[in-house]
Assembly symmetry: C2
Homo-oligomer: 342 residues x 2
DNA sequence: AGCTAAATGAGGTACGTACCTCATGTCAAT
DNA sequence: ATTGACATGAGGTACGTACCTCATTTAGCT
């Protein structure tokens, strides 16, 4: 039997098409009793709105914006690629996507970018940024304007964002800790931890989860204080080299941040490279090569394609005032080792 | 600027709508020169066919069938759930899905089920089965009838199937081996390997990959010959108990097959449970609980939701004679440990 | 019973594409 | 110049839904 249409519902309920339409689209002017008759018919026939036809008729378009930092971290590049790809493949779902980049070290540039957006030309915004008072204000203004907002990758819990798309970073840190502990085993020693910035919420949460697991399950391994590199290559090279010299008992390095290029380079030339377990975040060209070359042991990653698609789905839903199926929007913490590297 | 429509193309190319339609849908009766004029206009305006409107007009429906074994393995249940979910959420894409189950131990039943299908009522078939001569013939008949076929989870390379949806099982076995070796570390000892059946291609491939890595990278660990359990719980319980008694040097168990219930139960009551590294395949209720309870150390899994959606996409494409973007149809080998267990 | 306001019906157009028919245009071979 | 084959145009209907207008019916009230 073919799929029932609005006409079938009308017939089944003994009402006109106009009434069915009013019920389906929540328009006023239908008695309670009639509403339930129509709903009974919908139930009975198993009617499901043909979304493609509906969108066609509705002529709806979603104008969505990604706001991304302009940092030299590979991970952000992969985000750009994922957005570009999802744009090209999803012309289908009536979505226009723009990308706005802001220089990471300049919070005013970000605020300025956000100020340029308004409900008049934007149906939703996905933001990857750190939470500062200025940013919080700018987001509040957008929200007041009625623009749905989702935080991307790093949460902005105190801004009133509608949703967070990304992994549970505490769990990601715990996963890194679990692998670090298991891989080092009863060799013991100490672990160096490298973060982009202690202002970055995702970094802090990962470090937290990592420390939890190391303390709970691998007390024989000493976890050293965080080294902050601010995504700067020279700083990383200098600090890592120094630390490796100072602490010859290092058996593990955990790279918490979004970039690992300089770290990998230092290790590539280091004599103890095979005695050190290296775990980093985000699957990029750099981490792929490091895995392949036996320099890195595991990468904790989040699928940027999933992140982008989820953000788009959520923003479209919020823009329509629809609910989201949160179980479907969960981003998995992926573990990548040499052998499952696609 | 709004998205261009066929009318815009017609105007731009200086031809009528009918001609544009002929070009777009590959209908005959258009001069070579005119075709290129139209294509130039399409190029210039960046026209992309509105697939939703096209499908609406075309009234196309895809009648697809999943053929699945009726075995008591949790993994097959999760496949059923994934299919059910994808049916309910994707009424959107004009697809009718049926599931055909066949008793796993009866190859004739499978052949009979396949015989019942034909191009008259089926636009594509996804099969999870082992490759036997009978199955090969039945698939050949379906293909001759013009029905696209994809193999699911376990490949059927010699049947002429159009595509395989699933993980690279050699790589999955290698991944299991990598983790097993790293987790056991320099403790050494021996590893028990449990397979469903040595007839099952996916099982054999995993075992192969596992052995490769163990031999290459962890020669100090002895890998024992496969124990075949035919997905039977009593057999598993008996053989595993016996082996654990005979070989007190066992430090690892690799469960290659689709079910791990009985194995987990045996281990749950075993005194050496915390001295044994347990790695299994497929994320199910059983393996989830085992991870949570510290009985299992890692699960190598394939996302059944992705598998089902990929199979549907591929079958629709093949049915239309369209090409698939194979990079988008790759199924990842997922590693799940206690800490990234959703 | 008569009135008013609310509820419902009838019928239309539109969205972008597919696909159909029939008329007319063009071109090359005779 | 005529013919015939082919190319193109013009215009239509359909898909399932949204949304509009206006007429008509119904229910609730005095």
């Amino acid at each position: 039997m073919a799929r029932p249409t609005v006409n079938d519902i009308a017939e089944e309920a003994g009402v006109s098409l106009a009434t069915v339409d009013r019920v389906l689209n929540g328009r006023p002017g239908v008695r309670e009793k009639t509403v339930s008759r129509v709903q009974a018919a919908i139930e009975k026939l198993g009617y499901v709105r043909d979304v493609t036809a509906a969108n066609l008729a509705r002529q709806r378009r979603y104008r969505l914006v990604f706001v991304l930092p302009d940092v030299p971290a590979q991970f952000v590049d992969t985000l750009h690629e994922a957005i570009a790809e999802s744009v090209s493949t999803s012309v289908v779902d009536r979505t226009d996507v723009r990308i706005v980049s802001f220089p990471n070290d300049n919070p005013h540039a970000l605020v300025k970018s956000l100020r340029a957006l308004s409900a008049a030309d934007t149906d939703g915004v996905a933001i990857f940024a750190q939470e500062t008072p200025h940013v919080r204000d700018a987001i509040a203004r957008l929200k007041a304007d009625g623009v749905p907002i989702v935080a991307l990758v790093s949460d902005l819990p105190n801004t009133g964002r509608d949703h967070f798309v990304g992994i549970d970073n505490v769990a990601a840190g715990r996963t890194a800790g679990f692998l670090m502990g298991k891989f080092i085993g009863n060799t013991g020693g100490s672990v160096m931890v490298l973060v982009s910035s202690l202002q970055a919420r995702d970094n802090v949460e990962r470090r937290l989860g990592f420390d939890q697991v190391m303390a709970e399950s691998f007390p024989a391994i000493e976890v050293l204080p965080s080294i902050e590199n601010h995504d700067d290559e020279e700083t990383t090279t200098r600090l890592v080299t120094e630390m490796l010299r100072k602490r010859p008992d290092i058996t593990g390095i955990y790279s918490v941040g979004h970039g690992s290029q300089a770290l990998v380079e230092v290790l590539r030339g280091h004599e103890r490279r095979h005695a050190i377990t290296l775990i980093a975040h985000e699957l990029t060209r750099v981490t792929r090569e490091a895995l392949r070359d036996h320099l890195m042991d595991a990468v904790i990653s989040q699928n940027v394609g999933h992140i982008v698609r989820s953000a788009l789905r959520v923003l479209r839903a919020k823009s329509d005032g629809r609910d989201i199926v949160s179980s479907q929007e969960r981003i998995r913490i992926e573990i990548v080792v040499r052998e499952n590297l696609v």
